[in-house]
Symmetry: D3
């Protein structure tokens, strides 16, 4: 039996609220249970130096935890003067995941910057960030097309992410913070709506996992991502 009474293959309640703030070209508040992340997409002309003149665009992401999004206040990274290794790892993951569903040639020399700021953290913030950021990205691309900044839609597919892991010896979907803290393995699986895997990051904090467990976890993640992508579509 899971901590919050869910079945092993059951997502927490997910809501997606578009146009959450007024300035960004895409602005989404995603809630996955008590995890709440504000994902904004900002469009700017131009690309980073390493891409200049190649006729390609860029999609990148930054991630942050508000100091009291967590049970115990975490230090503000702007005060510490640097982002932690964890933060950088997460924002690199978000960026790669979104780029996997963007045709950067079709984007032209524009940059779309995703900002994922966690308002409340109850496990699964990196997955919620990816799922929410895709909706913000979709809105930003629509905004660009309405203004004729793009000739063609650069978004190739949806992308979403969910965590799976072993809970009391059974594969389980979408850990909250309490489950995450007491489980042995945690795997984040990023998938597109075309069925492909974009990222798989599995870590065995305690007991290493077996090949069979791996197969089961992958299957569960697939199911979870299909549901998330349906919720993404329903938000429009």
């Amino acid at each position: 039996m899971r901590i919050d009474g869910r079945a092993n293959d059951e997502l927490r309640r997910v809501t997606i609220e578009r146009n959450y703030t007024k300035y960004a070209e895409g602005s989404v508040l995603i809630s996955v249970g008590d995890t709440k992340v504000l994902c904004t997409a900002s469009v700017t002309e131009g690309v980073p130096p390493f891409l200049r003149g190649k006729g390609e665009g860029w999609v990148t992401a930054e991630y942050g935890l508000l100091p009291r999004s967590t049970g115990t206040r975490c230090d503000r990274e702007a005060v510490k003067g640097k982002q932690s290794g964890r933060t950088q790892e997460i924002q690199r993951l978000i960026g790669r995941s979104l780029r996997a569903v963007v045709d950067r040639k079709k984007l032209g020399e524009f940059t779309i910057q995703l900002d994922c700021d966690v308002i409340q953290a109850d496990g699964g913030t990196r997955c919620a960030s990816i799922t929410g950021a895709w909706v913000a990205l979709r809105d930003a691309a629509n905004w660009m097309m309405e203004r004729k900044l793009l000739a063609e839609d650069p978004i190739l597919a949806q992308v979403s992410a969910i965590s799976v892991g072993m809970w009391s010896g059974e594969p389980a979907l979408d850990f909250n913070y309490a489950e995450d803290s007491s489980s042995d393995t945690d795997m984040n699986v990023v998938m597109t709506s075309l069925g492909g895997f974009v990222e798989i990051q599995g870590t065995a904090e305690g007991k290493p996992f077996t090949e069979d467990e791996l197969t089961e976890l992958i299957k569960l993640a697939k199911k979870g991502n299909e549901q998330l992508q349906a919720i993404q579509r329903n938000s429009f």
Copy 2:
């Protein structure tokens, strides 16, 4: 006539939503027109080194803009590796303003950390932060008293802040961003519910202001702060 049609002595619509997030001992979302700030209060045992062993508590604040809280995305300070001068100036102001209404002896050796994170910025973010942070502070002190961590209430009075300035040659209350950008003077006035001035910060960006204008602006600020303090009280 003001940009959004308000009278010169009229506040924007102000709402205060308590218990906005679940972990913090005080958590308030304040909206002043389109300016939205999340203010959380975090209680921890102990005080900074310079106060240890004096039997006094500490109240301090940090401030941040989410990257796309503004019309044009601003760089994330955690990525730049330092807080700007503006950010530090604002968070020092918030901290001083709140300490002015706290009896630090009665707080004992506890620290209350206020975090003011701007979700959407449309002028007046530092004033909204002070006004909202006081409500979060009040909730945190109540939380401490319920748990018998404090023998007596350390909060001496309410505190709030509002901006005033010269608009088309007339004193006006509570500038939004568009007004702020095109006005000559801007003054932030922090007052307690006992009628005293805690901070006055007036800056003439363009034309210096006269002694008479100063008197008028102060009068207007008094009126605005009285209204804000009524809204603070009504939020409980």
Copy 3:
């Protein structure tokens, strides 16, 4: 009775020594009692990126305390790797105060950088910096006009600053460090020689101040600034 025997409306002894060092286009040592600040003005062609091509100049300031300018040695900010919030707040104030009396169109695309370095700190360093920096700025503008770098004088008026506050329940002018440490309120008032207020920054460290006290303090500051501006003129 004040600590050093002055009347409540009496400035400390103020001296201004021009051409204190040999390289700067303006170089002034200002003493206000035992507070001594070296203010230099450096002229360079060009302006910061945000002003390029607008045909306007820029005036900006930096501030520093020599490590043993104070009673207890303060850490060198270059070693700590960052300027404190207090330092940044002060240098922003100095810059704004000077820009208030400069016609930046007449300055053309030049930058004048003021450096205010405190040799000895006995209260009122930010006010002394503003008062001294104006003299250095005046010298730098003269230097530019002599070299025909400017067609017209860009300096619109004098600017100076003085602190006022409540001392034993009475308004008093120009606190030294001992007075500042034991007073309830402290207000820095920046005024031009045309009688306008450029900045008012009042902070009630202890007891908030009333509207009447505010009126008295402003009156006193006006008197102090008029005297300082006479001393500025006499230094030429």
Copy 4:
């Protein structure tokens, strides 16, 4: 056909040279093809603050590229003043992988610090670092046991890592840099000698991978890790 003529399931030539430098408690130079990494293990008494008094030890890792270990010189991170996101991600991975095979209770309040410095980089540096660091860790634990610092062996199993990916549509083992740059997917698989998976990090840079490809890649990684672990054993 692969770039260097290997079969798809063939490792590059791997050598492990123990006692490569004289001061470290474990010091290993591992070569995997032209990738060369110096892995040292340093033993110190005590643990980081978050573990103090719990009777457990700590194992952690740092990673660095020598500036000209790469085809084009990369900037020295000590000069840039911070470690890149990539570096932090890799050193976190190495640390987690090694901790997965250490009984931290048996280690007692000691820290073993692994340093993985890349002398020459030709693809697969993070995997080579894990594989080499385990040998250095094993040597350091032996050193501690010889000195009676440990009552029991804290090392539970071997751990190694290898990359797999899709090469010209086929699963292939152990990419060199040229293959890595031109392949669609890259997966690093960390396994113990007991057959469990510790980490799986798969990234589809181009085309997402399918469930079947995933199964094939895992199988190949298993084979590669078994060979690496045999080489680890033979190095003693």
Copy 5:
């Protein structure tokens, strides 16, 4: 013929003004020609961690250039966020030079911190810093002895420093900035009043120097240091 008309073995005019500022335990303004350095000595109880409990004291130095001490304004290191390599090299040299004439056992567990801040730079700032800092150090030690903080005098000898170099093919003493910029070699020689060499730092910017030139330069430096030490003594 030298730029300012001096003979090759002639020092610039040197003045030493003690008690230049009021807070420091030693405070000296040294002028060597147009080079002016403020040297303060600050006494604090306690020593850095690496010396604790050894019954020895510590003497250390920091160095800084005021931004407009130089012909072209140099950036403020506190703003850049770090000290340059040159600055660190100089302050390490000053510290070592002073420690060479201190019996750290006799100093007990006190730290004397020397701050050398250059008000005006016209060549030879590091040498002037050492020469002036010794006088500040001497004053600080006297201050400690008067207060019975020290049982015995910890100062073993005087120390001073002077630059020498090849000027138009001839050895010359005490370069100013113009000479320094156009000479081939520059050597800073630190000597005690007992005749010993504490530091010799010779750099051939252009043509390497010969063994004979070296001998001549050393002789000249000896003469210069003897004169500086007489001036140090006369300042008391």
Copy 6:
């Protein structure tokens, strides 16, 4: 008698291994006793901003200690976020020493970057770095000439460095770490193959040295450098 049994004028065993790594234009592993330094030379087109358009090249150096190159692990500078004063002092010395034997006009607008990374440190790392870096520089210049990037050889002479100091009252050559730690004086002498002195850096940690000792030390350093330069030549 010296710690490792050498005669006072005897170098440790020196080996130079060229082409140690495969990417750099010059790559040398130099061993001086147990001190091992990897010196690489990287050629890039273009020069730093201060040299642009002058038709001259640049030669510069960076230095680093691998964390466990030393007896006790030293912190990784990339993690600390800055290079120590010692590191910066050494890399400035290496750069100046190499530039002394380069005709920068003949180099044209190219930069040669030397990286000296210490694999194992047993005293004399800065001297070994200079001696090894010259060989890498020579190889890089040859590489450029083979590719017709240079019309003429820009290398004017060999350069090498050795330490000398007083050991038990006698001048001795090439201290190892144990000797260095227990000796009174340490002098690093950099010489060209034309017999000139490029740098002399002598520091008396304990007893200042006399003029006679200085003469003896210089003589010894000359002998050592002549031997090192023979070894440099024999490495080709």
